[in-house]
């Protein structure tokens, strides 16, 4: 029986859409994956030395054990968002002559091999290897490692149990913050309390039975729960949210552009992926803190220019690069309907302009790190408004990849093609180069002035640019319609 399941799994992996992606994208994704793995392994291996350095009088194993409780809670918290049991995959299996318990075992067993579990392994195995090299007792270390795997599996299965309720998430979040606060204010020594418990996994080899028992228990609970719910109308039904109609009457003020603006706002708000873009963009306001606070960058203005363009233009690039693919599922309707293409594009441009202005306003507090930061962000915002918006709309006409709006936003590469990487060049690199040249040849003020002037010129020619871009979209229309119709690319 399991042979069949493994075969299915194999096929679903190698025939999945990510395998059909273009070579360039595959290579980049592979590099990114390797980089992440390498970082994990390096950190895992280096952890021993880091802990030795920070806490010279403690065994690294002891120190690590003290933080384990936080690791468990944080992982549970994050997994709540990232990992879901892929119950939908078993729909086609329901009518086949396979026992439901076998299906349940398959889906639960499969989840043990999930990517998130591998992360932990790639981190702890190198750490254990370093311990062994440093003459820690082999038996203890190996059983400790097994205990860790069991703990990871526990987290894995506990996550599926709690995944059904937001309350559990809030509880975990509160627990996490609460414990940290107790520790921080010295009310209760959380680390000292939990440290020995987790350290016992290493100190007493027999203790490994505890996480293993827990893992089996959580597996069993999941099994019981899921086995009784494998019906189309129970756990396999995709949830539908109640729709909240809104008429956004104020968009009428934008005249012909109103309907499109209204549509775009609904597009962003009612779909997971676009909504995530908004939140991610807002979070990137804090990106500057990483650099402004460091002395090495404090007078290195090209870095400021990068921050300026990046922070004020984050929504511009995140959302803009996939125009018009956001509308791909109904693009043929848009093209057959009585739609002035120009108004459609103008609405997108307006939306992005608003985002640039909003992001600029949010970055104003960075004036704390010197007037240069504010001046450069201002110049960058103007440049984004005048130059980058037409640029990104123009490149949008090369988009031919469909985006399914209701797919999960995390790690979703749908719609990505070489175009997305090409866009980065003119949008991000060109303004920084221009800025740097004037900054080093003349002065910072002139460099900011040049960026602003370029933006203003771009703004002055907005109509001309939009007309040309509309023309371009018209020319590429058939290719776009055909491309957007292809599912799973």
């Amino acid at each position: 029986m399991f042979k069949h399941f493994i075969k299915l799994q194999w096929k679903s992996f190698f025939r999945s859409s990510s395998f059909g992606k273009s070579v360039a994208l595959k290579i980049i994704m592979a590099f990114f994956g390797l980089y992440m793995l390498a970082t994990l392994i390096m950190t895992g291996a280096g952890l021993y030395f880091i802990l030795r350095k920070i806490f010279p009088d403690q065994s690294p194993m002891w120190t690590l054990s003290q933080y384990f409780v936080y690791w468990v809670l944080i992982e549970l918290f994050l997994r709540y968002f990232m990992q879901k049991l892929p119950v939908m995959d078993i729909k086609p299996l329901l009518t086949t002559p396979i026992k439901k318990s076998a299906i349940t075992h398959f889906i639960l067993g499969k989840s043990a091999l999930s990517f998130y579990n591998l992360l932990g392994i790639f981190f702890f195995v190198p750490f254990a290897v370093v311990l062994l090299i440093h003459d820690y007792p082999t038996l203890n270390v190996l059983l400790w490692l097994i205990g860790i795997f069991a703990a990871v599996l526990c987290i894995n299965y506990v996550n599926f149990i709690i995944n059904k309720s937001d309350k559990a998430l809030i509880a975990i979040g509160t627990l996490l913050v609460g414990l940290y606060a107790l520790d921080y204010f010295g009310i209760f020594e959380v680390k000292a309390f939990f440290g020995p418990i987790f350290h016992a996994l290493y100190a007493y080899p027999i203790a490994v039975l505890a996480p293993i028992t827990l893992a089996l228990l959580t597996y069993y609970i999941n099994f019981k729960f899921l086995r009784n719910k494998i019906f189309l109308d129970a756990s396999l039904k995709s949830k539908t949210k109640e729709a909240t109609a809104s008429d956004l009457a104020w968009t009428k003020r934008f005249g012909d552009m109103g309907p499109f603006l209204q549509l775009d706002l609904k597009l962003i708000w009612r779909n997971k992926r676009t909504k995530a873009q908004v939140f991610i963009s807002l979070l990137f306001v804090f990106y500057g803190l990483i650099f402004y606070t460091q002395d090495i960058y404090s007078t290195w203005y090209p870095m400021f220019a990068f921050l300026g363009i990046f922070m004020t233009g984050i929504f511009l690039s995140n959302f803009g690069q996939f125009i018009p693919a956001w509308d791909s599922t109904y693009y043929s309707m848009m093209m057959a309907q009585n739609i002035p293409l120009r108004k459609y594009l103008e609405s997108k441009a307006t939306l992005i302009s608003v985002s640039v202005v909003a992001m600029f306003l949010l970055t104003i507090p960075y004036v704390y790190f010197g007037w240069e930061a504010l001046a450069i962000n201002f110049g960058s915002a103007i440049y984004n408004l005048g130059v980058n918006i037409p640029v990104i709309l123009y490149f949008g006409s090369f988009n031919k990849k469909r985006i399914e709006l209701d797919k999960s936003p995390l790690g979703n590469m749908q719609g990505t093609s070489a175009t997305q990487f090409l866009i980065m060049l003119p949008v991000l690199v060109v303004p920084i180069i221009i800025f740097s040249i004037f900054n080093y040849l003349i002065s910072l003020e002139v460099a900011v002035f040049v960026l602003s002037i370029m933006g203003i010129i771009g703004f002055a020619f907005k109509n001309y640019f939009l007309n040309r871009i509309t023309e371009q979209y018209r020319k590429k229309k058939y290719g776009m319609i055909a491309g957007f119709k292809e599912k799973d690319n």
């Binding site: 949210k241 309707m333 057959a336 009585n338 739609i339 319609i481």
Partner: protein, 231 residues
């Protein structure tokens, strides 16, 4: 109203559509039948300028569709679910289409009121987005949306598929009523020979991209079609 000239569509070496000449006069209710892959949707897509013809062209009320977009204000269509915007409620979708066709909310509402029977309380006021409606209900919404703004040409691809029997019968009545107006040209494709003979004055049979029959509907038409497809 619609004239097709030497129209061909090829994908590589495969010809999927080859129509030398086809005239559809104003006000006619025109039915297109054929097996899968006969070229029905291809013809409609060409008429809506969604794909490019390999040779030839289509003229819709003196406008060559792949040269100018001026045919759009008086032409409307429902081809498949890619004509729906999934994250809107049906009402919002109707108002959006209304906006595009210069109809305000009140106009749209009064039009929708005439389709109350057809909707059967399953479309309006459901607090559901279009993407969460069943296939049949999605189709109902799409079909009605194509009637907004008094179009002179209405194109419906497989309107009867996925609909329940009651709705099929109501839809037939709606299309007949629409076809009875002298100024509306209705183009319908279908796999269902009975429905199409009932609502269309003229039926064209496509086979492997070519017109093999062009019939003015009469009592014998259904028999004739059944013999053609059966034999």
């Amino acid at each position: 109203m619609i004239t097709v000239h030497n129209l061909t569509k090829k994908y590589g070496s495969q010809t999927v559509l080859n129509i030398e000449n086809l005239e559809i006069p104003k006000g006619q209710s025109f039915g297109l039948v054929g097996n899968n892959g006969a070229g029905k949707t291809t013809l409609f897509s060409l008429l809506l300028d969604l794909i490019q013809p390999t040779t030839g062209h289509i003229i819709n009320k003196e406008i060559q569709v792949n040269k100018s977009e001026d045919w759009k204000p008086f032409t409307s269509a429902f081809i498949d679910e890619s004509f729906l915007i999934g994250y809107l409620t049906p009402e919002e979708y109707f108002y959006f289409i209304g906006d595009l066709r210069g109809r305000n909310k009140a106009d749209v509402d009064s039009l929708l009121a005439t389709f109350e029977d057809f909707f059967h309380d399953e479309i309006l006021g459901q607090k559901k987005y279009l993407r969460d409606l069943s296939k049949g209900n999605q189709k109902k919404a799409g079909i009605v949306a194509s009637f907004i703004g008094n179009p002179e040409v209405v194109v419906l691809d497989e309107p009867f598929a996925n609909l329940d029997p009651t709705t099929q019968i109501r839809l037939k009545a709606i299309i007949k009523e629409l076809a009875a107006k002298d100024d509306v040209t209705v183009l319908v494709s279908s796999h269902d020979l009975i429905h199409v003979t009932e609502v269309c004055e003229r039926i064209v049979v496509l086979n492997k991209g070519e017109i093999v029959k062009d019939i003015q509907t009469s009592k014998e038409t259904l028999k004739e079609l059944e013999t053609f497809f059966g034999g």
